[in-house]
Every structure is written in C-alpha cells, then in structure tokens.
C-alpha cells in the first residue's frame, strides 16, 4: 500500500524534475556553446550565484510582491466568482457584463497601472493589488460562469422535480458542476497574478519589490541579478500553481476516486 503510494508520488515528481533539469542544462549549454553574451541571456549558473549573493534583498522583495499578488488574487477571485453568480442568476446581466469584462481584460496592465496609480496613489498597496485583481478577474469570471450555466438537463430536471429553487439548484448542481471549471481558472490565474504584480510595480510604488529589482537591474544590463529575481518570482508562481492543483484535488474527490481505474487503460 505504502509502496503503491510512494511509487505514484515518485512518478508525479520525476517528469517535471527531468524536464526542468533538461531545460536548465540546455540553457546553460546553449549560452556556453553559442557564446551568447551574458548581458543578453545569463547562464543558469550565474543566475544561481547572483541569487545567493542577493538572497536577502530578493527574499524580502518576493515577500512584499507576494503579498500584492495574493491580495490581488483574493480580490480578483472573489469579484470574478461574484460576478459569475450574478451573471447566472440574471441572464440579462450576463449579456451586459461579459462584453464589459472583455473590455476591461483587453486593457493591458501598462494602461491600467497609471490609471490606478492616479486613482489610488503609488505609495500604498491598493493600486497594485487592483491591477492584479483586474487581471485575475476575467478568467475566473468567464470560466466560472460557463461552469455554472452549462449544466446537464437531466440534473436540472431532477432538481426541478423536487421543486428546488434557483438557490438550491445553484448549490447542489451548478456549483459542483462549476468546480472543475473554476479549478481550471485557478490554474491559469495563479501564475498570472505574480506577473501582474511585478508589471504593476514598474509603474511606481515602494522600491523593495521584485518588479523594481528586475527593472532597475535590467536597465543597468545586470540581467543575472534580474533573472535571479525572476527565478524567485517564478518559484512563488509555481507554488501558487501547486496550491491551485491541491485545491482542485481536494474539491473534486469524486474525480480521483474513479479516475484511477479509467487511466490504467491507455
């Protein structure tokens, strides 16, 4: 039993490890082999060195940026889910809200950041978190709304036979049905939140943030330090992604219960 579990653990971990190491090796090799100048693309080993040299700064910066990302993520998810609920409860709203959400989403961060900075100032954290929230909002909204609306007729009919109201149908059918869709959105949004936080930081705010560390070092062509900061941010984004996967697993237990058998056969 434990052997089985261990085996499945190992089989989950080795592929990303192998590919990750492969990418790094290729990268390192390519830089050395093609004599790519390090001020264009630094070697992973130089990045690693700079990561250690600047660890204190980077750790602090990623913590500060992480707070922005998480805060914005939370706001964006809550807003996205709330709007998705409204959009399912009131169809007409859906028709009005969707294009609007699209419009907001098509506005790049670089345009939003100055506006939000103007509104909320650059010295606080509201502006940056709202930038993140805006980016997070759309995928959550679209996916969740889809999951809430595209429910199997049979299931709705059953609930209607119980005279279940909209609210109960929402709770018993639509929400469980939307969970995989929501999880899908989470996967997309987790890394996006980090990048949004970083880009928002280009446009103002305290200077002990990852975004600033990256831009200021890149501006001076110190790309090894910039990439070290990126590596820290990536690690943070990756851990958010893993968190999203965990939430997915925990919130859809019926999938893992049956899937095991379905996937044995290829």
């Amino acid at each position: 039993m434990n052997i089985v579990k261990l085996k499945s653990r190992v089989s989950i971990i080795w592929p990303p490890l192998v590919i990750g190491i492969g990418i790094l090796a290729l990268w390192e090799g390519a830089v050395v082999l093609f004599e790519i100048q390090e001020f264009l693309l630094p070697k992973p080993s130089s990045i690693w060195t700079e990561l250690q040299n600047n660890w204190e700064i980077l750790r602090h910066a990623s913590w500060e940026t992480g707070k922005m990302a998480l805060g914005g993520l939370a706001i964006g998810i809550v807003a996205g889910v709330t709007f998705a609920f409204f959009a399912t409860l009131f169809r007409f709203l859906n028709e009005g809200l969707t294009p609007l959400a699209v419009a907001v989403n098509a506005t790049p961060i670089v345009a939003l950041a100055p506006i939000f900075n103007a509104w909320f100032g650059v010295t606080g954290s509201v502006s940056n978190q709202l930038v993140v929230a805006t980016v997070v909002f759309f995928p959550v909204f679209i996916n969740t709304a889809k999951g809430l609306t595209e429910v199997h007729v049979n299931e709705i009919e059953l609930m209607r036979s119980y005279a279940a109201g909209d609210w109960t149908i929402l709770k018993e059918v639509r929400i469980p049905n939307a969970l995989p869709f929501f999880a899908n959105a989470l996967r997309v949004v987790a890394p996006l939140s980090v990048i949004a936080a970083i880009v928002a930081e280009y446009f103002g705010g305290p200077q002990d943030r990852v975004g600033y560390v990256i831009t200021s070092n890149a501006g001076l062509a110190r790309y090894d330090v910039a990439w070290a900061a990126i590596a820290v941010a990536s690690a943070f984004g990756l851990s958010l992604f893993v968190g999203a996967l965990l939430i997915e697993r925990v919130s859809t237990p019926w999938k893992s219960a049956v899937q095991l058998e379905e996937t044995t056969k290829k």
């Binding site: 049979n154 299931e155 009919e157 059953l158 209607r160 036979s161 119980y162 005279a163 279940a164 109960t168 018993e172 059918v173 469980p176 969970l179 859809t252 019926w254 219960a257 049956v258």
Partner: protein, 260 residues
C-alpha cells in the same frame, strides 16, 4: 384508493421544435384521469411519448396545448409543493455525491435532520440491496446498481406522487421482482399515487390498477385496460387473471404496432 382525482390531463398536445424542419409531434390530444392512490402504467412502442407524458405531469415540460392538473392544482403548484418523486430513464445520479448523499438529497431539501437522513438512507440502501455501497461514488457502481440508487432516492421521502420512467429496466429478473414487491408494499402503506412507464407487459399487469397503452406518431391514448388482481403476492404471477390481463395488454400493443 379513493375517488379524488390525482392527475387530470385535458386535451394535451406536445410538439417539439414547433415550426422547424425537425418538428416532432410527440403527443396529441391526450385525455387522462388518474385517481388518488391509483397505480397506472404507461406502455407503448419506443418513442411513442411515454417519457414526454411523464415529464408533462411532472411539470418538467409545458404542454403545447391543453392543461395538466395534479391534486386539483396546476402541475407547477404541485411541483412547488414538493409532491413529486421521480425516477428517470437514466439514473441521473450526481457524480460528486457519494451514493448515500445522493439518496439523502431530497431529504435535505425537505429539511430532514442529519441523523434522520442517514438512518433513512441506510434503510433505503438495504431495501435496494446495496447495504455496503453508501460511501461509493456513482461511477464506481454497475448500471443496475446506479438505477437502484436512483429508485432509493425517489422512494426515500414517500412522495404523494411517484413518477417512474422504466425504473427496473436495467435490473435482473430476481432483483426486479424483489423491487416490484417492495414498490407495491410502499404504495399500499403510503397510499401514494404512481405513474409507471415500462416496456414489460407482465410488469405492467402485475403492478397496476390500470394500464394505458399509447400509440405512436403522434402519441395518442390507444386504450386503457383495467387490471383487477386484488392484493398482489408472489403467487399472483401464476394467477390466471394475471395471464388474462397480460394477454389483453399484449393484444392492444399488437394492434398499436400493426396500426403503425
């Protein structure tokens, strides 16, 4: 059984995709009265509109023409009053709920306490002979087992009106006969009204007070056959009246088929 009307269907038509090239007249000019406490079966060739009729009664579809009344009120009101228990042709279990939670769903909606619910769901699991499967997910069960769970779900809260669409179709003969006896027992105990769709002639004869034979394209009531076998028991299946009723139904169905 008393003489109060449970269901009254008045000149009902149902047309799908009206005025489109794939228009289907599923039901045409249906008149039917079902008394409270009656057990009525619907039988007829595949595609003749049995499921559609059941869904009209259950207010899951609206008639294109005519009206459906249930317990003296509109079908809609009856549904809102939670008078219905339904078993669909497809088991229609929720993948994300364990078997026992599926059975408890209508009880939850009726506001039962947690303890009562779990007692009842275990009772129902025993009834459908799946005592140990409460903690499984539906996808882990065989087709027949899923169907039984869906029956357990419909019976669990003793509805005033039971609408069952080929509930025993996926069951083996033994289980089926067991379920028939159990269904009759519940029906007698609770005085519930049952509308039952089936393809099995013996089943319809064994269970019902009346058998409604539908003819297809468009679905119409071909004939209504009264079955009077008194209180059913296993021995009823050997009863000559039972064979007579079955033969009468078979002949009506033959006539329907030939007419086609």
């Amino acid at each position: 059984m008393n003489e109060k009307s449970a269901i009254s269907i008045n000149s009902v038509d149902k047309v799908f995709n009206e005025a489109r090239e794939d228009e289907v007249i599923a039901l045409s000019n249906i008149d039917l009265d079902i008394k409270e406490g009656e057990f009525v079966s619907l039988i007829g060739p595949s595609g003749c509109g049995k499921s559609t009729l059941l869904r009209l009664i259950g207010d899951l579809l609206e008639p294109t023409k005519g009206s459906v009344e249930v317990f003296g009120k509109s079908a809609h009101q009856a549904r809102v009053d939670q008078d219905y228990g339904m078993v669909f042709q497809h088991a229609g279990l929720f993948d994300w709920r364990r078997v026992s939670a599926n059975i408890e769903l209508p009880l939850e909606l009726h506001g039962w306490s947690k303890a009562d619910r779990s007692t009842r769901s275990q009772e129902m699991l025993d009834l459908v002979k799946l005592p140990d499967f409460g903690s499984y997910y539906p996808r882990q069960l065989s087709g027949g087992m899923q169907q039984r769970v869906s029956i357990a779900r419909a019976l669990s809260f003793k509805p005033k009106l039971l609408l069952m669409d080929e509930p025993f179709g996926a069951l083996d003969e033994m289980t089926r006969e067991h379920m028939q006896i159990e269904l009759l027992r519940i029906w007698e105990e609770t005085g519930t009204t049952v509308v039952f769709v089936t393809h099995s002639i013996p089943e319809s004869a064994f269970l019902s007070n009346r058998v409604v034979v539908l003819s297809p394209r468009p679905g119409q009531v071909h004939s209504v056959i009264d079955v009077d076998l008194g209180k059913r028991s296993e021995s009823t299946r050997q009863d000559s009246n039972f064979f007579a009723a079955a033969t009468e139904i078979r002949e009506a169905l033959r006539a329907v088929e030939e007419q086609e």
